[in-house]
Symmetry: C2
Subunit: 294 residues, 2 copies
């Protein structure tokens, strides 16, 4: 049996009891290591599970999935995924390959940012589609997410923005110098709430200025930044995008929610507690017409 | 400290290791018992946790929250919620009351239908807002959910439909006969995928016929029914709404997803495996133009 096991959000104790039982008895234990990261190192997991873990990077999962699936028809293989296993398409692909080979599979679900974001006080059923924000570079500043944010905003919904994670990013300078193995890669990078807010404001301003567009949000729009959700060091901050640009949320992982206008009074009350500046928050709620749409 | 602890979806082993540790040491353990249900009885939880559980119905949480919060500033109180704690507004309310009294709180997240639904093969980031479907009665057949389904459908997104649960429903006949205590209530009722599909088809037909509306879906639209998600007895069935009307998904809990047209090929491949009738499914994909929108 191939088990897809969600690890939840923060540390080694966020695995479920059912998940832990499987990890402890499985023949091989893989940890998917490129779509997200736990807030503790691999060794902490290995000590707690009392099992060695094989790190499964994108290459291994996509090109050598036969290695992962070997013997899975007759023994138990655990494939660990941070959050819930079905956040990312790649695992779907592995599941479909297992199915083709008639390998039975089972999923042990867990919390992921997609549902735990409710902790920020905005109700899950008021969220529209989720978007991803990548690191802008000098010549690649994609705005494809904007249309989706606009579709959500047009019907008053919140948008969860998932922030870029660069793991195993190739370091072309080092490679040119002849670097091999781990040295070919840059250290991991995680987008911060401030970086995301800044990119969002930049895009809105560009569209206004260069295209005369009436954008679906601007620097005055309200948003909520979350960091290390689900951990003891969780931090939640609410404010205008222009305020979040200057907020230091500390260590990864970060996410951001752009508030929709069809927000309930109870949601506003809850989020207000996290405001950078409560007066500015109240003013933005009023000026922006938050909570007045049915 | 007041701990909100998610129990996940299916049975006593779906609690996280962190959650279990808190339950075992908490002064009092409450189980929220009216927005959702686990698939195992309370006694199974009590045996596994080795702790007595106080059932917290809506009344207790809403009117007697001081009982729940008593001593929470100095001792540990565990408030257990099926799924993740922030699926329902009522828990938000309890959290806000705790805050007012300066009681520290922490949330132990877990899987809920809102993220585990990804197991049906439809990608979470392609879902729009979530809607709820209540049991229609002779004189109450609300259609307020339809507008939200339409908003999602208009931009090609999937809609998760959460199905009605009637727990502690007052039995007016029994009350009239002088029933007291537990006898005042009807046995719990859970809406099935078939009932939901049937109500959805009815509403589309009514709107077509009585209002000449070009509805955003009809009996030929594709949907996915899930039952007992996350448990070993999980069942997933895909097909036209008109097909799902006749499908018996077995014991609770059930949910339904109405497929959006902006569906990825990989999602279609995945969902197809669950089709009641693969030929009919392929035909519906083609005729309905699923996956052709960008």
């Amino acid at each position: 049996m191939l088990y897809f096991i969600g690890l939840g959000l923060a540390d080694e104790r966020d695995i479920t009891v059912a998940g832990l039982e499987i990890v402890r008895r499985a023949e091989r234990v893989y940890l998917e290591s490129y779509t997200s990261l736990l807030l503790v190192p691999q060794t902490t997991l290995e000590t707690f599970y009392n099992r060695p873990i094989i790190l499964a990077d994108r290459e291994l999962v996509e090109s050598a999935s036969t290695t992962i699936l070997a013997d899975a028809a007759t023994t138990d293989i655990a494939f660990l995924v941070v959050g819930d296993p079905f956040g990312a398409t790649t695992h779907t692909d592995l599941l479909l390959r297992a199915r083709e080979q008639n390998i039975p599979t089972r999923t042990i679900h867990n919390a992921s940012i997609m549902n735990a974001i409710g902790a920020c006080g905005l109700q899950l059923y008021n969220f529209g589609q989720t978007v991803s924000m990548v690191f802008f570079t000098d010549n690649w500043r994609p705005e494809s997410w904007y249309e989706k944010v606009k579709q959500n905003a047009d019907i008053g919904l919140h948008t969860l923005v998932l922030l870029d994670i660069k793991v195993k990013e190739q370091d072309w300078d080092a490679i040119a110098r002849g670097a091999k193995g781990a040295k070919q890669y840059k250290p991991p990078r995680f987008m911060t709430v401030a970086e995301c807010a800044s990119q969002m404001v930049e895009v809105a301003e560009r569209r206004k200025k260069e295209e005369g567009e009436e954008t679906c949000y601007d620097g005055d729009s309200l948003a909520v930044g979350v960091a290390r959700l689900g951990s003891k060091e969780q931090k939640i901050v609410a404010g205008r995008l222009s305020e979040l640009v200057d907020v230091d949320m500390g260590k990864p992982l970060h996410s951001l929610v752009l508030m929709g206008k069809r927000v309930h009074e109870l949601e506003i009350d809850f989020v207000r507690e996290f405001a950078v500046d409560k007066e500015s928050f109240d003013e933005s709620v009023k000026k922006g017409g938050y909570g007045t749409t049915a």
